[in-house]
Amino acid sequence: MNGLDTPKKLLSSIEDIERFVDRYSLGRDRGEGSKHFLRIKIPNGMLTADQFRRIAHLAEKYGRGYAEITDRQDIQLHWIEPEDAMSLFTQLEEIGFTTDKCGQGYPGARYGDVRNIVGCPVAGVDKFELIDTSPIVKQLNEFFTGNKDFLDLPRKFKISVSGCSINCTNPEVNDLSFVALRKLTGEVGFVALVGGTVGVAPKLAQPLGVFIEPDDVVDVTKAIVEVYRDYGSREIKVKARFRWLVEEWGIEKLRRIIEEKIEKTLEAHNLDYLPTSGGEHIGVQPQRQEGYTYISIPIVGGMLSRDKMLNIAEVAEKYASGDLRLSPSQNIIIINIPREHVNSVIDKLERIGFSMKGSLLKWTTIACAGNFCGKSPDHPKKRAVEIVDYLEKRFGETLRNSSLRIHISGCPNGCGRHLTADIGLQAVQLTVEGRPKQGYNIYLGGGLGPKASLGRLTERGVGTEDVKYTIENLLLAYAKEETNFRSFREFCDRHTVEELKFLMNPSPKSEE
């Protein structure tokens, strides 16, 4: 034999593999012929055009030239072969990124990790931000990446930190989130929310009831993740997310244990509602740096080809500083564009297929990768493109002023956050006259920010081909009641589910 009688001899020959174990992994796909995905964590969504270009080359070589921006500011590739993993991980390490640990395949409540930490994509350049939180996000990311003490949490743990004023990081759906706040005294710090999730047992995060100084955010985060690691339920997977511990303990106990851990009493701060507006950084915006602009490129569903990635990288390098940001609404932002180059960038983007014209739906619509994970009967991202295209054609510029959000999930797990949108769609498998048919359940009136709430299930099993007409009917009714397409949630709140069902009238129409 080859001298393998003792474990030690084998161990000495696998160091090249083991060095990646705590920082890189592949996730499991079951659709489109893909068996594995690679979810590249981009902390705070910040990367250079050169890094973006190199990831495009990885997509070309290992993932059929396709990539997705996720709603946690990751870049996801599919069709990855395990045999290519070592080469991929080596190149990713050179580029400067790691991946999710993807421990969701385990049957028990263990091997959870801290997912990509989400931050405002225009941190540091937003004209109206209260504080640039990207240094905090980077510090947290460095602490948790590959940290063996935090690689066996009961389940995944999602964190967001935001200093902008429009709630772009979706704090209410994270396990732990920090939202910047300016007190009447002028002091800027954070309120924390805990226990949010949009899975099969959805729950919006609750305020921790404290004001946290910027210097304490890292310590408070470490304390809370430790609490989850040590006290979160490991009995059954479905009851293992942090929300269940928050519910079991209550806010007061959680706060007391955190304070014991950080050896500091946190300042009480009651919060009736989040001091935010529930939005997205859209279109062409002035930066806080005089003479500079950022442009958010709308990418419905976050779907990208290798060519589009290379084109975006080229524009960012040719006309701006070469810095890119990924947004939690699956878009890409080019920052640091000198004023004199703004029109050139807009023209160039138009030529490569990204128009700044049309409705805001292109920026606000998100969809999950349900066609790859195998849990969805439909292709949520393609459906998103179809619906947005149809509504733009149908309503034209009248949707330009609407901040309407359409979110699409492929299954009840809600990775497309369908419960937090004005119009949320969740794919379902139907049986019609004994035959399988694909469709969507429709949830209305959800939203984050002030008066955050989950959408109401309003219609079940609308056929996939009819969804766009159903939404069209609803928007026509809405337009009669509201001018300029504002306050969709208020419109929904004014009506009962039965009334909304009637307004949607899901009978198909022929496309003009």
């Binding site: 034999m1 080859n2 393998l4 009688d5 003792t6 474990p7 084998l10 161990l11 020959s13 696998i14 593999i17 083991e18 174990v21 992994s25 592949l26 996730g27 499991r28 068996k35 594995h36 395990p82 045999e83 993993a85 070592m86 640990k101 993807c102 421990g103 395949g105 385990y106 049957p107 028990g108 091997y111």
Partner: protein, 83 residues
């Protein structure tokens, strides 16, 4: 739990990859298969269910024969491969 390869019987080896997510069970299995002799048996014990599909597929790509994929407890699986 660190990965380990032990000799269980003459011509038979046990590879324990509990605690490893994809792609590591595949990578360790392929590495171990390269180091045992043709005809010998490798028994892989794992707790990551997706690997019950990917490890056999990788072994077959190496020209090996998958003899058995079985669940040995609530959270453990065993894959027997002949090189």
């Amino acid at each position: 739990m660190p990965v380990s390869l032990t000799k269980s019987n003459e011509g038979s080896y046990a590879l324990n990859v509990q605690g490893y997510t994809c792609p590591y069970p595949v990578l360790f299995t392929v590495r171990a298969l390269k180091q045992i002799a043709p005809g010998e048996i490798l028994e892989v014990v794992l707790d990551n269910p997706p690997s019950c599909e990917t490890v056999p597929a990788a072994a077959e790509k190496q020209g090996c024969k998958v003899l058995e994929v079985s669940r040995i407890s609530d959270k453990l699986w065993r894959i027997r491969i002949r090189k």
